[in-house]
């Protein structure tokens, strides 16, 4: 048997019971996704933005571990003939310029709101009203985008490289890329440890709490 399951592949064109199965899978996957993110601390704004103040690098540790482990898993399963990696990669084409510009804007929005779009749902689910406010903002911002998109001209599709992978770019096997990413992650985790110790020492010398205060205002 090869994955993704052909029964569920190309979900958007599915109808009837396969579509219902797909939606049920979505709920199950979502429950696991939301549970793990909450337990990682991603429902708390201070734990997320701590990344950008050098006080709490949980975001980097969790994200990088997840990316590296899923990448290794995908490469191994692909090598074993169990996963059609190219079929998954087909969903992630590169449009370089909008992704870089949009990425910077999203990063600014992250620090302004204290969440990213996914974690704002987790915060909402744990009762955080600032999380709910972020969710509403994301909804509004995406509608504004749809309204102005025709005026953006060719920019949203600029820098089009198609399905362009790191292994194609570096001209090495995907397994080599996975090994490099694991090595990069290990270096990043070491540096993260130094940064956290320094960030906490700095805030202590200013008589501030070692990590960003986690006070909430009950309403």
């Amino acid at each position: 048997m090869s994955f993704p399951l052909s029964y569920l592949a190309d979900f958007d064109s599915l109808a009837g019971s396969p579509r219902l199965v797909g939606l049920a899978v979505a709920i199950g996957v979502g429950i696991a996704f939301g549970f793990v993110m909450e337990r990682a601390g991603f429902g708390r704004a201070q734990k997320l933005v701590g990344q950008f103040y050098g006080t709490d690098l949980t975001v980097l540790k969790v994200m990088f571990t997840a990316i590296a482990s899923a990448m290794v898993g995908a490469v191994v399963l692909s090598g074993a003939g169990l996963l059609d990696l190219e079929a998954v990669q087909f969903n992630y084409p590169t449009f370089l310029w909008p992704m870089i510009v949009g990425g910077v804007v999203l990063g600014i929005g992250f620090v302004v709101s204290g969440y990213c779009p996914g974690t704002s749902f987790v915060a909402t689910a744990s009762g955080k009203l600032d999380g709910l406010a972020t969710v509403l903002g994301v909804v509004a911002g995406s509608v504004v985008y749809a309204e102005v998109e025709p005026k953006l001209g060719a920019f949203p599709t600029s820098g089009k490289l198609g399905v362009f992978t790191l292994s194609r770019w570096l001209n090495v096997h995907p397994a080599v890329v996975a090994a490099l990413v694991v090595a990069l992650a290990l270096v990043a985790f070491t540096v993260a440890g130094w940064v956290e110790r320094r960030g906490r020492a700095t805030s202590q010398s200013r008589n501030e709490s070692p990590s960003l205060s986690t006070e909430g205002v009950p309403t």
Binding site: P4, L8, F11, G22, L23, V25, G30, I31, A32, F33, G34, E38, R39, A40, G43, Q46, Y53, V62, M63, T65, A70, M71, A74, L77, L82, L85, V88, Q89, N91, Y92, T94, L96, P98, M99, G102, G103, V105, L106, G107, I108, G109, V111, V112, S113, C116, P117, G118, G127, D130, G131, G137, V139, A140, S142, V143, Y145, A146, L161, S213, E215
Partner: protein, 171 residues
């Protein structure tokens, strides 16, 4: 089970768990996780209720309503699951509490206003980048998309550039 709101999973264990969820999603569905796409569909649905003719005249919106109801979508159901999973995890860890998270000296109204504003920036940006930190950085990054990695480094750059100006929010 003891509930300690200050106790979180070890970040590397949480990362491995997240990676496993992502890998299973690739295997079963042939795609990764996501979030902002669901937010957009909620916006499309709201617009289609208030101004149906307008919604079908906007290309990006009509595309999301073509074949199915705008909320009949994989990501919308995945986010419904996220809300359940998040609430369950918060409840069982003693973190399920109605509150506004902010620094002790910053006003709650200002904090909520910044949350809406930051959310709006991200909602706009995530459409431009075809996915957010979940749907692009995490899900595309793990299958080695160059665009996903460029996006991820840009998010960090934007966050670090803006952090100094927003520091009062957390003090």
């Amino acid at each position: 089970m003891e509930r300690d709101p200050e106790k979180f999973w070890n970040p590397y264990v949480a990362g491995l768990a997240l990676g496993a969820v992502l890998l299973v999603t690739y295997l079963v569905m042939g795609r990764g996780l996501g979030a902002s796409g669901a937010s957009f569909r909620v916006g499309v649905w709201a617009t289609s209720v208030v101004a149906p003719a307008h919604a079908s005249a906007v290309p990006a919106m009509s595309g999301a309503m073509e074949d199915h109801h705008p909320l009949d979508d994989w990501l919308v159901f995945e986010v419904l699951g996220m809300l359940v999973g998040g609430a369950l995890a918060a409840w069982t860890s003693g973190r399920l509490r109605r509150e506004v998270l902010k620094g002790p000296t910053f006003g709650a109204a200002g904090r909520l206003a910044l949350a809406v504003a930051g959310g709006a920036l991200m909602g706009f940006a995530a459409k431009l980048t075809r996915g957010c930190t979940s749907g692009q950085a995490l899900s595309g990054g793990a299958v080695q998309s160059v665009g996903s990695w460029a996006f991820m480094f840009s998010v960090f750059a934007g966050g670090y550039a803006a952090a100094y100006f927003l520091r009062r929010q957390w003090r």
